[in-house]
Amino acid sequence: MRPASETDLVELLRGATQPFALRGGGTRGAVLAGAGLDCSGIVGVRLYEPAALTLVVAAGTPLAEVEAVLAAERQRLGFEVPDLRAVLGRTGVSTIGGVFAENASGPRRLQLGACRDAALGLRFVDGTGAVVKNGGRVMKNVTGYDLVKLMAGSRGTLGVVTEIAFKVQALPETEATLVSDLPAAAGLAALRRALGSPYDISGAAYAAGQALVRVEGMAGSVAYRAAQLRALLGGDWALVEGAGSAAIWRDIRDLAPLVGRGEALWRIACVPSEALAVPAALEAAGVAHAAVFDWGGGLLWLTCAAGQGARIRAALAGRGEAARLKGAEDAPAFPPPAPGVAALQAGLKARFDPKGLFNPGGMV
């Protein structure tokens, strides 16, 4: 099934009795069993006002098209969407709706927020076939409940999103990255130090034995902040500017250091000061792995052998939350919700999707 309009989608869902596995471009989300509902047929840029930093786009629109439209006006999606095709071993064309459904956000999240923070409004069709709109296309909006946030990252469990309004960002004049070869402990400490400074860091990662700190903005400001950071952090930091810096962060964003490194891919959220303790605990538990640390150590991506989910979660012992993106497993893909949260999630699922049409066996 590949509805070509919201109207077709409404028709389809009103009469539906069998569940669907929702799919955008198939480039990042979980692959679920069931009849496919291909959401890539509803496409097109609906409104773009560069001077208001606003883009409204149909959910099936390819991400690449969105990025090209924005680039023509020297703008971009600020949350730096990862391209996980290589690390997940997928092919296909990523859709903006899929990005939203996964709340997919890259290194700049620590400065500008996630996809959910850039999303201003949406339209979706719920499990009864009702069209719901929420939010709008303006930067500030507290009119009623924020269902935009609820739908962001809901992974197709509550409804089929047909249109999203985003706040976009002007491209900075330039960017620069400080790079230093450091052991993990020193590298991660440097990231935290940088993030505690007033120098407006837009990327802080540790991968392949290197600590990486990015600043973006006007040329004079970037040069100033890079110099100040060098002085603050001490030691030996190389400065990579412009396209070189952009290439470094493309690799971090897309997890290039982890491509081909293991059967399973995990994403662990924790506080940055635990970033070193988490992999140590995993090593101690016998989980051999390779890791990329993003968000100043608040996010660990790791590849390891499949079938170690239970061991990973046990080793975390409350220090963070682990979700699996790839690899056949012994443990569920998502961590168990906190007490009380499971009932709230189930209640929302039951009300937005009373027939249980969307992504059975998915996150909720």
């Binding site: 006002e49 560069p50 001077a51 208001a52 930093l53 020297r74 923070d117 719920d126 009702a130 069209v131 719901v132 709109k133 929420n134 296309r137 303006v138 930067m139 500030k140 909006n141 507290v142 009119t143 009623g144 409940y145 924020d146 269902l147 935009v148 946030k149 609820l150 962001a152 990252g153 002007a170 900075p172 004049e173 993030l195 505690g196 400074s197 007033p198 407006d200 903005g217 006007m218 004079g220 400001s221 959220a269 506080v271 940055p272 000061s273 608040g298 963070g320 939350e321 979700a323 998502f334 906190a338 007490p339 009380g340 949260v341 709230l344 999630q345 209640g347 929302l348 009300r351 996150m363």
Partner: protein, 477 residues
């Protein structure tokens, strides 16, 4: 303003309900005498008042849970309250309700500079969150005008913004997690210090839910390192259109100031007469503030003033020192007070697409003439969040009603041009009956379903946000 008829069965049980609350709370945490509950009869939307059945002022999450359990048991509506600074009537009680104020819960639970968060009890005021971390060079970014008085609880309930949210976002973008007590007394932790929890984004829908999903007793907030410095530039223009174009060009150029504030002629004159900030006598005025080191400020201001010069400004004044910067902000910060000197006023909060600014200002002028009430405009231009201040005289019979009708007209205009009814104040009772202008029945139904899940009996702040007719089948009584 219609409110539901109070439930006579609840009113009749007042003594028993108060006794049950006293049984689970400390002596001084329950107020039921009229001379004491009087202080809780309204919030900052003071045109509407109502004495509640009782007021409870718990000191801990456990006490909040105990109070809610009693109210749940008795089927009594509960109106959560932070500091009572809501401009939308979010904390206004009904006669048959218990007000639950969190003002006594104002402790800092934990500060963690290495991981850049603070955990506070939500009765703590907005400004005192920054106060708790500024010695270490940090601040909490959302800065509503009422930040000296308003509580984090209310900030979360209304998803409050402020002048500097152009760069830093509003409450929802700076909130990492909450401790939420549901109406049935269950305590749930949602999110936490590391922000992005797995599962549905419940935090995102709790923020801005106007106290209708639960009582938030503790919150993890993101704190940021303070910038090295900040400086405003003042620009005067010959028309609102030109000022609007200048705003668009600044944003278009990829410069992101921390604030772009806009004042129109009626507001400039009132502020000047009140605060003597030395503002130029012109049609429209912008205050643009940038942050950073001296060199960075100079670099940004050079780019911004170059853009402004292309629009033939009638005034262009860069702050030369701290005192000068204060003077530039003085008029803007006293805008509400200045308008209040002239008359009573009602403050609107609609948001519009920035591109429609000149047209909307022109239309507001026409509406003002049509209704015969003066209006001054002062607002956050960078994000299109308008604050038209309509002047009226509360002592003139019919003036408040005329003012409200005019306000509704302006808010409908905001929606018509692609904006919304409220950018940062919330719906409360004030905009409740206009919700149908922005949302279709299915849109409201989807929102009300969320409340069904968190508060199936519709006891938390039930007569707010949704038009009474829309929520009638769900509310008790």
């Amino acid at each position: 303003m219609d409110m539901p008829v109070p439930d006579a069965r609840i009113l009749a049980r007042k003594d028993r309900i108060v006794a049950r609350l006293r049984a689970v709370l400390p002596e001084d945490a329950v107020i039921s005498a009229e001379e004491e509950t009087r202080a809780y009869e309204c919030d900052a939307l003071s045109a509407y008042r109502c004495l509640p059945l009782a007021v409870v002022l718990p000191r801990s999450t456990a006490e909040v849970a105990a109070a809610l359990k009693v109210c749940h048991d008795e089927g009594v509506p509960v109106v959560p309250r932070g500091s009572g600074t809501s401009l939308a009537g979010g904390a206004m009680p009904t006669e048959d309700s218990v007000v639950l104020g969190v003002a006594r819960m104002n402790a800092v639970v934990q500060t963690d500079y290495e991981n850049r968060f603070i955990q506070v009890q939500t009765g703590r005021t907005n400004l005192s969150v920054t106060g708790a971390v500024e010695a270490e060079g940090f601040f909490y970014a959302p800065d509503p005008s009422s930040q000296l008085a308003c509580a984090i609880a209310g900030n979360i309930a209304m998803n409050s913004g402020g002048a500097h949210c152009l760069k830093y976002g509003v409450t929802t973008n700076n909130l990492l997690g909450v401790t939420l007590v549901k109406m049935d007394g269950e305590v749930v932790t949602i999110g936490g210090p590391w922000g992005e929890p797995a599962g549905l984004d419940l935090l995102g829908v709790i923020c801005g839910s106007e106290g209708q999903l639960g009582v938030v007793t503790e919150a993890w907030l993101r704190i940021l390192p303070k910038p090295e410095g900040a400086r405003p530039v003042l620009m005067g223009f010959a028309s609102n259109e030109v000022a609007g174009e200048c705003v668009a060009d600044i944003i278009r150029a990829g410069i992101l100031p921390v604030a772009i504030e806009f004042m129109d002629r009626p507001c400039i004159r009132a502020c000047e007469a009140f605060a003597h900030a030395g503002y130029p006598d012109c049609e429209a005025l912008l205050i643009v503030e940038v942050e950073g080191s001296e060199a960075e400020i100079a670099e940004q201001l050079a780019a911004i003033t170059a853009i402004a010069r292309r629009h033939a400004p009638v005034a262009l004044e860069e702050a030369q020192d701290e005192a000068h910067a204060k003077r530039i902000w003085l008029g803007r910060k006293s805008a509400f007070g200045a308008m209040g000197q002239i008359n009573d006023y009602m403050c609107l909060d609609g948001t519009i697409p920035v591109s429609t600014l000149p047209m909307v200002l022109r239309r507001i002028g026409e509406i003002s003439r049509e209704f015969g009430l003066d209006v001054g405009n002062v607002f956050h231009a960078g994000d299109g969040n308008m604050h038209p201040l309509i002047l009226y005289n509360a002592n003139t019979p019919g003036d408040l009603e005329r003012c409200e009708a005019m306000g509704a007209e302006i808010l409908k205009l905001c929606v018509e041009v692609g904006g919304c009814l409220t950018g940062e104040h919330g719906v409360g009772i004030e905009k409740r009956d206009l919700m149908a202008v922005q949302y279709a029945p299915a849109d409201l139904e989807a929102q009300m379903r969320v409340k069904d899940v968190f508060d199936p009996g519709w006891l938390l702040n039930p007569a707010k946000v949704f038009p009474l007719a829309a929520s009638a089948g769900r509310r008790a009584g």
